[in-house]
Symmetry: C2
Subunit: 325 residues, 2 copies
DNA sequence: TTGAAAGCGCTAACAT
DNA sequence: ATGTTAGCGCTTTCAA
């Protein structure tokens, strides 16, 4: 028969410590410009601990006009151990400054993100999948003070991925390249930028024209694409992602072709299955761990007022050499 | 030189629509027991849309005494594609009822979880790894109305997955089975339950003793495991997940063995790459759409007051037949 | 060094 | 059917 057990409030702590709410607030927030004698301080801290006091977030942010929630939007599907470590890094770094990180997993972020941002009252939103101007604007209107993962920067990054793939294949002496487009979904924008990165490199390096083909996640249809590449003299294929790359590999297998001898294949993502594909997949991974701390700092700066939150590269693409290319 | 651009408030909407704040609240929340004439309704809705009004979450939950945030605590490290899909389903189902799902990734949930729970003012906390009484209690104190930490139920489910794998292999006439344990990470608890499901089935069906072996996501070491299985007369292998299964396939390939002729291999997860593994991987998938809905319903019930939130199965395992077994 | 008091933006009795 | 009003729990001037 427990009473609805009202949550412990700051007033309770004040009473318990024999001070005013104001003092409690000062102590608990370590408010700058306030001198609290050590003794009072202890009294408050003790009382708070004794009562297991936890400020109510909603009241806090309503009063202060800002929340300490940071929202991280993650691309759909799998989250590698790598990425996971990055997230924990980021969370830890932010926590060190009193900020809480929560994540949101979603394929594409449509209207939802701004809504979610408002729903959790996030003061910063970070995304690993870049968003367009419109979304950025919406997020700001939804209350996000800092929005990271935008615009031009992202475009360049996406292209960089394609370049990395192409350069590697060029280094392998391939004369004409193919591009394996994902047959389904996948944000067209990303697909286009990545593709463009490859195409530009082909042009710059004087290779034959890039031959993009859609590739289903099914061996038989994939084999058809392979046939077409073979017919066109393609000897290297950049795939939009690792899954698509593996589909190409499966198609080649069906035709008795081998990577990289017949066609070199390179993916993107370095998914857990990549090292055990047949043959092990060469791909472009991302160095997330490294960037965790940087990113946290950027958020902090942004929140502190450093206006043009010009985010750095948030995904540092990195070639992962294995057997397929 | 934009003014700090005060966010649009409910009062703004009221003014714009020429009604009181109360009416705005009634309309926007679709408050039961209030009769709002269609015309007023439209006026308010229009004004809200015109102003791109978004209620401030903190104010809402402070006033209402409850938030519409649901926190999902995920086990550390990697998040498989299928888990990710499940999360999206859950999020969608909850969103359908006005609840927002955010996730938290962390190795173990120590003191942090209750803190985070308070920080985002979550009214429900769900965890895929069961937590103890103490944590549950702390979460409640931190403001969570509903705490779901999949207990016994989960155990049975995990075993069911193993049974499904084993039964399929038995149906293929395999006499002795092997189990491919993930070499790294993966919550030991889950691994053990899944393994147990297989072991129990082996015992019940009078097969030889199950032979579990750790399998790295690397072809060469995987081949070693394969050697050992071959030596022991194993003709069917259940893998902890699809990645591990693919590692086994890669190991077999290295030895010139074929699935399912030499050894039948079955995974868990039905990752996107599964249909394009060589050969296409037979595996156990999950009906996420269905279970996402169920879980969402459980949360809703709990929030609505239905006390003993006995959650149903959250992962409905389902055999996906392809070529490898 | 501490406290009193005025809100933050919203909901929900309680009028009307 | 709609408006008035009183908080929700906290931060933050401004006084003392």
């Amino acid at each position: 028969m427990r009473t609805p057990s009202r949550r412990v409030t700051s007033a309770d702590v004040a009473r318990e410590a024999g001070v005013s709410q104001t003092t409690v607030s000062f102590v608990l927030n370590d408010t700058r410009g306030q001198t609290i004698p050590e003794e009072t301080r202890r009294r408050v801290l003790d009382a708070a601990k004794r009562l297991d006091y936890r400020p109510r977030a909603s009241a806090r942010s309503l009063a202060a006009g800002r929340s300490d929630v940071v929202l991280l939007a993650l691309p759909g599907l799998p989250i590698s151990a790598n990425l996971s470590r990055f997230i924990e890094q980021l969370a830890a770094a932010l926590a060190g400054h009193g900020l809480s990180l929560v994540t949101h997993l979603a394929e594409g972020h449509g209207r939802q993100l701004p809504d979610l941002c408002a729903a959790v009252d996030a003061s910063a939103v970070i995304s690993l999948i870049p968003f367009d101007e419109e979304t950025t604007e919406a997020l700001h209107r939804a209350g996000a003070q800092v929005v990271l993962g935008t615009g031009q920067q992202a475009r360049a990054e996406l292209q960089e991925i394609g370049r990395l793939q192409a350069e590697h294949l060029v280094g392998l002496g391939r004369g004409r390249l193919g591009y394996a487009l994902p047959a389904e979904h996948a944000s067209q924008w990303r697909v286009q930028e990545r593709l463009r990165g490859v195409a530009m490199t082909c042009a710059e390096r004087g290779l034959g024209e890039l031959l993009p083909l859609a590739v289903d996640l099914d061996p038989a249809p994939a084999a058809l694409a392979v046939d077409e590449w073979v017919r066109a003299g393609v000897t290297g294929v950049c795939a939009y992602n690792d899954e698509t790359a593996m589909a190409v590999l499966a198609g080649m297998h069906l035709r008795g072709l081998r990577a990289p001898d017949d066609i070199a294949v390179i993916g993107v993502g370095d998914i857990p299955a990549a090292p055990v594909s047949i043959p092990p997949l060469t791909t472009v991974g991302f160095d997330y761990e490294l960037t965790g701390r940087d990113l946290a700092q950027t958020v902090l700066d942004g929140l502190a007022g450093a206006k043009p939150s010009t985010q750095d590269s948030i995904s540092r693409p990195l070639l992962v050499r294995r057997a397929s290319a």
